[in-house]
Amino acid sequence: MKKKNLKVGLFIPCYVNQLYPQVGIATLELLEKLGVDVHYPQGQTCCGQPLGNSGYEEDSKGICQLFVENFKAYDYIVGPSGSCIYHVKHHFDILEQTEDVKRVRDNAYELCEFIVKVLGKKDLGASFPHKVGLHKSCHGLRGLKLGSCSEVKGEHYSTEEDLLNNVKGLQLMSLNRQDECCGFGGTFSVFEETISVKMGKDRVNDHIASDVEVLTGADHSCLMHMEGLINRNKQPLRVMHIAEILNSTL
């Protein structure tokens, strides 16, 4: 399909919409820069994941249905959050599988995946002269298979690395544990607070020990958790969503 014919519905996750508008803006600007015919359906809310992961899937049906209504008219649905997209693809099985529901599930893409797989682009002309550490969020990595996992035998690949490695001046730092969970886990972060915080601390410290200046990733929920720790502990790390880096120019 040619880019011009693509009609893309931009999905901005609820917490990004409310708390991290800059991530939504970077995502939109980036897609526009890439020549995508991108629209933001107003009145969108959430994918239902916070409820599903907490065991309240039944109560999330209205949310999921609303998501389908908002996005059913688009060829692709693209969002800057692997875990939300994973939820749409894997857990919308609670809805009746109408043509609309099936199409929305099949055509939902995480931002990096959309750029690399659908648009077929890796070099977006961005420049960002910093030492960057990539947090590979689990739902994107293991759920959407955006990259290879250290525990699975096979060739190494990574959608996010493909994009970051083409950013001018960017130095991608290698971590001690390349794909360990950060401990966010939605409501896990409050109901299992101790372990969540410990996991986050360990992840952040791995980045610091690896000489990282800017911690990035494709899922802002993980980043929010780690940024919370970094700010509280006044650690020398900046946190940015990958869309913000890919949208950067000197």
């Binding site: 901005i12 609820c14 990004v16 919409n17 409310q18 708390l19 991290y20 508008p21 803006i25 939109l28 933001y40 107003q42 009145g43 969108q44 809310t45 916070p50 409820l51 992961n53 907490s54 065991g55 309240y56 899937e57 039944e58 109560d59 209205g62 949310i63 249905q65 609303l66 689990c138 739902h139 293991r142 996992c149 250290s150 525990e151 699975v152 035998k153 096979g154 360990e180 969970c181 401990g183 966010f184 886990g185 896990f188 972060s189 409050v190 109901f191 299992e192 607070e193 101790t194 372990i195 969540s196 915080v197 410990k198 996991m199 986050g200 360990d202 929010m224 919370g228 720790l229 700010n231």
Partner: protein, 456 residues
């Protein structure tokens, strides 16, 4: 007490948590190296999974076939519906032989059935002979891991324990010395035992034989010296044919410890002359788990412990935080089937990162089952009022764009303007150790509307 509280207890000593995490991560790395060395590893896992699925779908046939063949080999076969019956059967065999001393190699099933206290109550000395199990037995604790039962103990802990119970001299935790002393102590137990109890790793339907895997040689030391061998197995331990051991033995040790195979893989078919061999086949909730379509694949488990070693929560909360015979991710999908109320916090003791499913040698979809148990638990067990209210309200607000807009505005307003003590208080577990996001004024949607207006 739920998992979170027990995990918090364990985390009071952060240095110990770091040590525990590192020790298990080291095992996980050994597993990666060893598994990735095998040509066709991922296909091997698929085979393991498909074989186990075939077993479960024909389990009655295979069990009968196994029994028939075992009996032909002169083995006594017993059936136990639950833990109580299992314990009674074992005791009755002991009584028949007037046995007073038993050596036991590792068997998670006998742990699950609480066999030791039952036998001890009847005046029988039970000695766990796997070194890790002996350590926790002396410490009067349950194992904290199914392959590494004493992984929560430091070598200094073991030193003190052995001084007290085995009369060793202080060695600052010298592993060679401690293992040597344990060898002497347990050798004496092996030589004097009347009965040896073992678990079963795999029971082969087409031969009636079974395989027991150890590194220490403790199962064999017990069995080949005692007059009577009792092997206890869950019904799911069956595999169809002997050649399928070729799949499972390739998977097991690599997944468990990163070894290419355990030191000893002992194949028992017939008892040695003048000796008796018994097999106790146990249900104890397994047929019920078999009935649950979403959860039956949990019965594929071959007890390698790989999901524990890779689990970032297990590594930082310790096996005892699960308060169940089988801890970690696999325990968290098995335990709710046994007692939903008691174990209802376990499926939530996960971020659903999915690494457990990736390492599982028989490809159990562990993290998906955790998600599914959560749905069951919320329906069937009373939930904390706050959580329930938040979730129910969120369900309504997020299904309604107008309500969402209002809620979003007020939340951002509160975050921005509320005094710090209101945002960070004891009710807000987020804020104990983490800052909340800084609020930037407009939401994305508000920005988008303004931009569109300006462009008009």
């Amino acid at each position: 007490m739920n998992h979170a509280k027990r995990a918090t207890e364990f985390n009071k000593d952060e240095a110990k948590v770091n040590w525990h995490d590192k020790a298990l991560w080291y095992v996980r790395e050994k597993r990666d190296k060893s598994a990735h060395n095998v040509h066709g590893w991922e296909y091997l896992r698929e085979l393991g999974s498909a074989l186990k699925a075939n077993v479960l779908s024909n389990l009655d046939t295979y069990l009968v076939q196994f029994e028939e063949n075992a009996k032909k080999n002169g083995v006594h076969v017993h059936w136990a519906a639950d833990a109580k019956e299992h314990n009674e059967i074992v005791l009755s065999i002991m009584n028949k032989h007037k046995a007073k001393k038993v050596v036991k190699s590792k068997s998670m099933l006998t742990e699950e059935c609480h066999l030791n206290p039952h036998l001890e109550k009847h005046g029988i000395e039970v000695i766990d002979t796997d070194l890790g199990e002996r350590i926790v037995q002396l410490a009067e604790e349950p194992p904290s891991h199914i392959v590494l039962p004493a992984i929560h103990k430091t070598k200094e802990d073991v030193d003190v324990l052995f001084q007290e119970h085995l009369g060793t001299i202080p060695s600052q935790g010298n592993p060679e010395y401690l293992v040597g002393e344990a060898r002497k102590h347990l050798r004496n137990k092996f030589l004097n035992a009347d009965v040896a109890i073992t678990g079963v790793n795999f029971a082969v339907a087409n031969t009636g034989g079974f395989v027991v895997c150890t590194n220490e040689g403790n199962a064999d030391m017990g069995v080949h010296l005692a007059k009577v061998h009792i092997a206890c197995m869950g019904i799911e331990k069956i595999i169809p044919r002997e050649e399928h051991l070729g799949v499972f033995l390739r998977l097991l040790a690599r997944s468990a410890t990163g070894q290419p195979i355990t030191t000893y893989s002992s194949h028992f078919n017939k008892p040695e002359e003048d000796k008796e061999m018994h097999i106790v086949i146990v249900d104890n909730g397994r047929t019920e788990q078999l009935s649950r379509e979403d959860f039956r694949a949990s019965l594929h488990c071959i007890r390698c412990g790989a999901c524990m070693n890779t689990c970032p929560i297990y590594r930082r909360s310790g096996g005892h935080s699960y308060d169940y015979t089988i801890p970690g991710p696999i325990g968290s999908i098995l335990s709710p089937g046994k007692d939903l109320k008691k174990h209802s916090s376990l499926p939530f003791a996960s971020t659903l990162c999915g690494s457990c499913s990736n390492v599982c040698p028989v490809k159990i979809n562990i993290h998906e089952q955790l998600y599914k148990w959560r749905q069951v638990i919320v329906k069937e067990e009373p939930q904390p009022v706050i959580k329930k209210t938040i979730m129910k309200t969120a369900g309504k607000v997020l299904a309604n764009p107008k309500l969402f807009e209002v809620a979003g505005k007020s939340a951002r307003f509160a975050l921005k303007h509320a005094p710090r003590f209101m945002v960070y208080n004891k009710l807000n577990a987020w804020g104990n150790a983490r800052d909340l996001p800084e609020v930037k004024g407009d939401s994305f949607e508000e920005w988008y509307k303004k931009r569109n207006k300006n462009n008009e």
